[in-house]
Amino acid sequence: MLKEKYADRIQAILAKYPPDRKRSAVMSLLYIAQEEYGWVNQQGIDEVAEICDLDPTQVNSIAGFYTMYSEKPKGKYWLHVCVDLACALSGADEFYENLKAYLEADVDGNSKDGLFTIEHAMCLGACDRAPMMQCNFHFHENLDLEKAKALIEQWRANEAKK
């Protein structure tokens, strides 16, 4: 249960908003649910709803509206490649397609080994460092295909060691 496992973090989040405005915590709590379960599943939705005194349907609408919550299982390494205009002027479309091919990703962007999910993203605020991507929302910038492949292999090696 999130409520017990993350009690301190949840209290700190709730303390940021007025006492009668628990609903404001819903976005931060959904991140905790996603961290715990790997994606935003029904269990997570129900628990977040209980903490914020909301109906699960209301929490579902939040999870569905915002792109950073995954409503289905995904790879442990979630990659977002920016292919928006500024990055595309520096070859981001081609970079994305090549990286996707390298990962042998299916139509949903899941790699053959199941470790990665690759998606394209709208502007990520790194237009001067294109092509770029985020992995689990951490920046990796000034990339080319070779540098990206090296990152992928490094993450694969880290997993193999575990």
Partner: protein, 457 residues
């Protein structure tokens, strides 16, 4: 001159001790000794205009907040998501205390009970750095629980109210004679629309980020965060405030022009050799200076074809090669308006002669289609429809009449939506067609390439 990107001259200014050694938090101290109205008047006199894109005078915005209302809020718009914009990220990464100090000066002036910095979810790492900076400054007593600077009560003797903690560590509204205002970071979760102020407030309240019907406006009772009067200011706007309070509006106005005072960060991206953020004094430099002196010129020595001066949402400026006099336009709000475009957030995307403007239009409309919140029908359906038509154009399957269709659809999106996104989505496609008809013409034919359906189908 860097008054925002001070890390250029002072390494490690992101650290509290370095910031304080270089005059940090002195402007806040000064503000707390001034009557609130004087702080607002100083910012008004500086003519500091909102740096998020709309250019509305910040001091005027602050003056809309009713001083006799017991609880007001300040929300900082750090949801930087416009295509080609990456200026606020650099402020928060490299000079976070200046943003915090500027926000607190505003919080004092408008009697805010709390400051919320709404930062886009993709800036996860940036938010972590910002939270550390806030914790450092609060622990040092510049604001919040440890602060011992008395602030004036209102004429009726009521002490200011703040969002604080009770004995159990739970949130509570507290009264204090000291400046006990606190600063919180609220992480978004991926939605461009939350940069629109009323959608931002919805999101902060834990709802879908969809714009509100106005009036009431955020500064009005009933229109702001939790229905309380609220100022929403961009990161760069607030980062200007400490300089104005420390040095005075007169000193600030020595930089820039009458209508565009101070400095501006220009986010330069696209086909230039040295893309990046450049902070320049308003009016002293031209587009050409930005592109050549700072941006290192066009890649491969090619010719410029077009400029998007305000990310995806402003009209494109047609440039006929590197000698075009339009490149001598000074970088100010008023001069950029004369080109038929806008300065907006100054997210300047440079496109060279190799670019197909029909492809640009398609890229931008796909962005707005993805980011439309779905509340207003013209925007939701219009952006969807336009992506279909631009896809058809790029696939070589469009008819000449599809250009008229684009005009019809786009013009029916303008001025009929709750927020500006519908307008922003229509602009880039209408202006690329206006300025580069030849780029569209090459993709279309009278009948389209697909055979017409047989009769009876």
């Amino acid at each position: 001159m860097n008054i925002i990107y001070r890390e250029v001259d002072i390494p490690n200014i992101r650290e509290l001790d370095v910031y304080v050694k270089n005059g940090g938090y002195q402007a806040l101290k000064k503000a707390l000794s001034m009557p609130r109205a004087d702080v607002i008047n100083e910012v008004k006199a500086s003519n500091l205009r909102g740096r998020g894109g709309a250019g509305f005078p910040a001091g005027v915005k602050w003056s809309f907040i009713p001083q006799d209302n017991p609880i007001n809020y300040l929300t900082v718009n750090a949801d930087e998501s416009e295509t080609g914009t990456f200026k606020d990220r650099q402020i928060m990464e490299n000079n976070p205390h200046q943003l915090i100090e500027g926000a607190l000066i505003c919080a004092y002036a408008i009697k805010a009970a709390a400051v919320y910095i709404y930062i886009r979810g993709e800036y996860w790492d940036v938010a972590a750095g910002l939270e550390k900076a806030i914790a450092d400054a609060e622990a040092a007593g510049y604001f919040g629980r440890k602060n011992t600077t008395p602030v004036p009560a209102d004429p009726k003797g009521n002490k200011p109210k703040y969002l604080g903690l009770n004995q159990d560590g739970m949130s509570a509204i507290i009264e204090s004679e000291y400046f006990a205002c606190r600063v919180f970071v609220h992480l978004g979760a991926g939605a461009y629309i939350c940069g629109e102020e009323s959608a931002l407030l919805e999101s902060l309240e834990g709802k879908m980020g969809q714009p509100r019907v106005r009036p009431p406006f955020p500064a009005n009772k009933g229109g702001g965060l939790y229905s309380e009067p609220t100022v929403v200011n961009n990161v760069e706007t607030l980062a200007n405030v400490p300089f104005i309070i420390a040095n005075g509006a007169a000193e600030y106005k020595k930089m820039g022009t009458e209508q565009s005072t101070g400095t501006k960060v220009f986010c330069l991206s696209g086909h230039v050799n040295k893309p990046g953020n450049y902070e320049l004094e308003f009016g002293k430099y031209t587009l050409r200076d930005l592109i050549y002196t700072y941006g290192g010129g066009i890649r491969g020595g090619r010719q410029i074809k077009g400029i998007l001066p305000s990310g995806g949402s402003g009209p494109v400026i047609r440039v006929n090669g590197n000698d075009d006099p339009i490149l001598d336009t000074p970088l100010t709000y008023e001069d950029m308006a004369k080109t038929g475009s806008i300065l907006g957030s100054a997210s300047i995307i440079i496109m060279d002669e190799t670019v197909d403007m029909a492809w640009v239009a398609s890229k931008v409309i796909h962005f707005f289609h993805h980011e439309s919140c779905g509340k207003c029908t013209p925007c939701r359906e219009g952006t969807y429809w336009l992506t279909k038509v631009t896809d058809r154009i790029l696939a070589g399957e469009a008819k000449d009449s599809d250009i008229d269709l684009i005009h019809n659809v786009a013009n029916n999106m303008k001025g009929v939506t709750l927020c500006a996104l519908g307008e922003f989505a229509a602009n880039p496609i209408l202006f690329t067609i206006k300025h580069y008809p030849e780029d569209f013409k090459q993709h279309t034919t009278a009948a389209g390439k697909l055979p017409a359906p047989a009769a009876g189908d």
